[in-house]
Symmetry: D2
Subunit: 132 residues, 4 copies
């Protein structure tokens, strides 16, 4: 499991006074980028140097409890499924009282930059994801 902490910002909220639903996906991606960096495969590397892209092909989220500006949250990310050329990440967003306030699940596919086709998850990256 990978754990990342952040604070809900004013621009994450909307005039209803709470986190805007779409921004929960942004926060989940922030956690994912922190994970990639922590295991030695930062997003900048994928964009500039890798032979592959990692597009998200599916995403879903549950919104269980409201989040307000200033709320401290902890995002707990785990690899839910590790396929041949795709992987699924499940994130649980936990507030300062330890309650799960929301979840985000994303399905990522590994695509070869040249051919534009699916390609197996690179071995070293797979090994890093397996260790989580």
């Amino acid at each position: 499991m990978f754990v990342w902490r952040t604070t809900v910002k004013l621009h994450d909220t909307d005039a209803a006074g709470l986190l805007f639903y779409g921004h929960q996906f942004k926060m989940a991606h922030d956690c994912y980028e922190a994970l990639l960096e922590s295991i030695g495969f930062p997003m900048a590397w994928w964009l500039r140097e890798s032979d592959c892209f990692l597009p998200i092909v599916h995403a879903s989220a549950d919104f269980k409890l409201p989040l307000f500006v200033g709320d401290k949250i902890e995002i707990r990310l785990r690899v839910e499924k590790l396929g041949q050329s795709s992987y699924t990440l499940a994130q649980d967003i936990v507030d300062s009282k330890g309650r799960s306030v929301g979840t985000v699940t994303t399905v990522h596919v590994v695509v070869d930059k040249k051919s534009g086709r699916k390609t197996p998850i690179p071995d070293k990256f797979r090994a890093a994801l397996e260790k989580l």
Copy 2:
């Protein structure tokens, strides 16, 4: 069905050159707000005057084809399910060639502002959603 058109903006994209996945949910909400206004229940009315909130409790999306800055898209929204105190909206994002490039599904619950509890969909709003 409700149809809404927009253009992918530069700030909807990221350094991978394409629409950032989380922003597809923003575009879907823009379409939903346009729908609410078109049927006489604009978002500002829900926030200021209505007795109810309409929080999103679940959302999911498929990302089928990449979207670039400047792409013209049409979002086709339909009511997938109309329950007692919740409704599900299904949106299909179609590019200028008529291809479905992505979908967004959201589940909304009607909550009484005072009690904070689920409450039936208001009759006039239900009637407006049924007409779509």
Copy 3:
């Protein structure tokens, strides 16, 4: 002058109930992108085909009256200054009552993609800006 119309979206607002100040710059850029397309130099062309980039080197804004979700606004853009290798755009945001609610000014520099240095505004683009 170039005129562009839009509506304040829920995700443009924050928990204070009004437009988040940073999003005024986003709306101004949306108008700028609409301008670029209307004069035949769309943003996608600059990114993919042109020899130049057009980075913003300075921006400023005044916030005069609050904007709420659903507010209809008109953005009036004019070229304030057309230099050798830079140009300044001044945008006035006007609400449905005709009041100026805010302004945005941006300074853009033309940079050669290969050398990374300032380069004169391309002639045809200059001519298009002069016509506004």
Copy 4:
């Protein structure tokens, strides 16, 4: 001076590959919110409990060097001016090499929630800002 550190996220960038100009204002506000919390006046308190709002009436920024996804930045905030009922914050964004890559300046006015008029900066808040 107040110092806050963050990392440029993928959704802070756009298809030009760099930080989207408008998002520099978002990062500056994140730093401001961290400051408010650190001096005991968190944003949530202003929104829910204080008698005043603190709207931004003017903002400006310089963009000196490009920022990419994953870049580590330090934002150095200082109070540039402390008036009767307004204050000006100057922020300098410094990259991991110690270079100033951009600046943001914001002018905030203290407004009484009931009357909607300018009111003096509350004494304790003024004292906290003076200590920076």
